[in-house]
């Protein structure tokens, strides 16, 4: 028997497969396709204190081996989330990581303070890196002091593990991982989407109403791997790898370069059973490689 469980700081997952924020909603639709209880966990859509209706259309567009999105953090807000979404999430029998995106440090703190009382939530992922909202998002994610402060203040209001989701749109992501660690953060997720755009050459208008969007999918995998490797080689902090994972091979690659667990995003849109299939693939791989504990893969690169 292969031990698939992994530990992200104090957070134990039955396996390293997480569904990424913004790519599973609140779990209900995807549950029709796949048995979520088999997964390591799901990360819920970024929540803000008040509901957000999101950006006007067009919100997405396909690119070479990738897609751009500017959803604008459409979400139901903390109150409705607790009332309407948590009851369903509770029944899933998988680890629930609650992702929070806010426009001010105070809002991050306030959301966490309220949500930490919910037993269903095992940990928080703090999204300081959404490129698609004007007020906060990118500004925070590219600012070491802001990330330090958010980490520190959020930690102060919750006992649950706090994971900071980092922006790839920076020169040295490891500096951000370090500041998260120094301010008590339990782990980092890397990466969120890259800022990108696309224009219609006949109308000369952006294909996405928000002008720029976040690039995800296989196109960004090499960048994401390099970011995870950079953190892994420079900072001692658990890493959740994200970016372009389509199958178990990609997932293994992320663990090798340093990830303790990983999230799958865009692939859920194409193959909502990808999470389960990846678990099967991981087991086969471990057998072939005579690996007993999947966590031994983490940062097992040979350089």
């Amino acid at each position: 028997m292969i031990d698939l469980s992994v530990q992200i700081g104090r957070l134990k997952l039955k396996n390293p497969v997480l569904l990424a924020s913004g790519t599973v909603g609140y779990g209900n639709e995807i549950a029709e396709f796949t048995d979520l209880s088999k997964l390591g966990g799901i990360v819920t859509k970024s929540l803000s204190l008040k509901p957000r209706i999101g950006n006007p259309p067009q919100r997405i567009c396909e690119t070479a081996s990738g897609m751009l999105n500017a959803i604008g953090l459409a979400n139901v807000g903390v109150e409705v989330f607790i009332k309407e979404k948590i009851p369903f999430l509770k029944k899933l029998n998988t680890t629930i990581i609650c992702n929070i995106a806010a426009s001010s440090i105070e809002e991050y703190v306030e959301c966490t303070r309220i949500l930490t009382q919910e037993d269903a939530i095992a940990a928080f992922e703090i999204n300081v890196s959404c490129p698609n909202v004007k007020e906060g998002g990118l500004e925070f994610g590219n600012n070491l002091q802001a990330v330090a402060k958010i980490t520190e203040k959020v930690k102060a209001v919750t006992d649950k593990p706090v994971i900071i989701k980092l922006s790839p749109n920076v020169s040295r992501i490891s500096e951000f991982a370090k500041i998260v660690k120094d301010n008590g953060g339990d782990a980092v997720s890397a990466i969120n989407t890259l800022v990108g755009t696309a224009f219609d050459i006949w109308t000369r208008k952006p294909k996405i109403k928000n002008i720029t969007g976040g690039l995800s999918g296989p196109a960004i995998k090499p960048v994401a791997l390099a970011k995870v490797l950079e953190i892994s080689r420079n900072v001692e902090i658990p890493i959740i790898g994200i970016g372009g994972i389509m199958n178990w091979k990609d997932a293994v690659e992320f663990m090798i370069v340093g990830a303790s667990a990983f999230q799958i995003g865009t692939v859920n849109f194409i193959n909502p059973k990808a999470g389960e299939e990846i678990i099967d693939g991981l087991i086969e791989y471990c057998k072939k490689m005579s690996i007993n504990r999947i966590s031994d893969l983490t940062a097992s690169y040979e350089i």
Binding site: G25, E29, K45, P57, I270
Partner: protein, 251 residues
């Protein structure tokens, strides 16, 4: 909602740019309602990345029909499928047309490939009087497959009414004045916008609309359409693709 590996039974060319694809997919064929759509993976590889949404055109026993136009890379690949090929389909998606309720005449108005969902709709409208307005640029691009009581309009006048399909409907509408009608519209946005205006406060009207989509089943939030009440957005894939004409604002 589920994914199935269907088998291509045939691919037929209906006109220069339009194809009729038949796949064997028993589970889907049973589940589908008119106006619903499926999200199709056009190739085994990760390219093109996203699935492509297509209305279900018709079902017959275990067989599901799709009607599509070549638009870009994805539909080009789809048009190369051969009998026996496997096709990964996700569906059924969306809400479909509402055929319940009290009306005598079903007026179907379709522009271009917008007629795709009509054959199945017609099958489900048994017992109603049906009129199908079919519009196209020219007679070469007209799609008549599976339609009933066809009234043709072409932009260049090469067949039928000379002008757009909404104008044609308006010119014929007086003949329907004493009957209880319901309109089912599907086509490009400018056409739907015009239809919406015509229908305003006058006709019972359902519109099937398109949107860029990533998932097709409600998890990406990529497919918003503005609610007419100003209270944010519907998701075309989940709340639609069929809406009552007065529910939405078409851009």
């Amino acid at each position: 909602m589920f994914t199935v590996l269907s088998t291509v039974e045939s691919l037929e060319r209906l006109n220069k740019n339009t194809f009729l694809l038949k796949v064997k997919a028993p589970q889907l064929a049973t589940a589908i309602k008119p106006g619903q759509f499926c999200n199709i993976k056009v190739s085994d590889a990760d390219y093109p990345l996203l699935r492509r949404p297509f209305s279900v055109c018709y079902t017959d026993g275990d067989t599901v029909y799709f009607m599509f136009d070549i638009q870009g890379e994805g539909t080009r690949i789809l048009a190369e499928k051969k009998t026996g090929d496997q096709l990964d389909i996700l569906g059924p998606l969306g809400n479909g047309f509402n055929t319940e309720g009290d009306f005598e005449v079903a007026v179907l108005i379709g522009g271009g490939i917008g007629v795709a969902p009509f054959p199945l709709l017609i099958k489900h409208l048994e017992g109603k009087e049906i009129l199908t307005f079919v519009g196209a640029r020219n007679s070469e691009q007209l799609i008549k497959w599976g339609m009933r009581n066809i009234l043709v309009a072409t932009d260049d006048g090469s067949e039928g009414f000379n002008g757009n399909v909404i104008a044609y409907f308006q010119s014929e509408a007086n003949k329907l004045e004493n009957k209880k009608i319901r309109i089912f519209g599907c086509g490009p946005n400018p056409m739907l916008k015009a239809l919406q205006k015509v229908a305003e406060k006058k006709y019972d009207c359902q519109l099937s609309i398109e949107s860029a989509m990533a998932c097709g089943f409600g998890i990406c939030q990529g497919c918003p359409v503005k609610k007419s009440d100003g209270m944010g957005y519907y998701l075309v894939c989940k709340d639609g693709p069929v809406f009552n004409s007065d529910q939405i604002v078409i851009e």
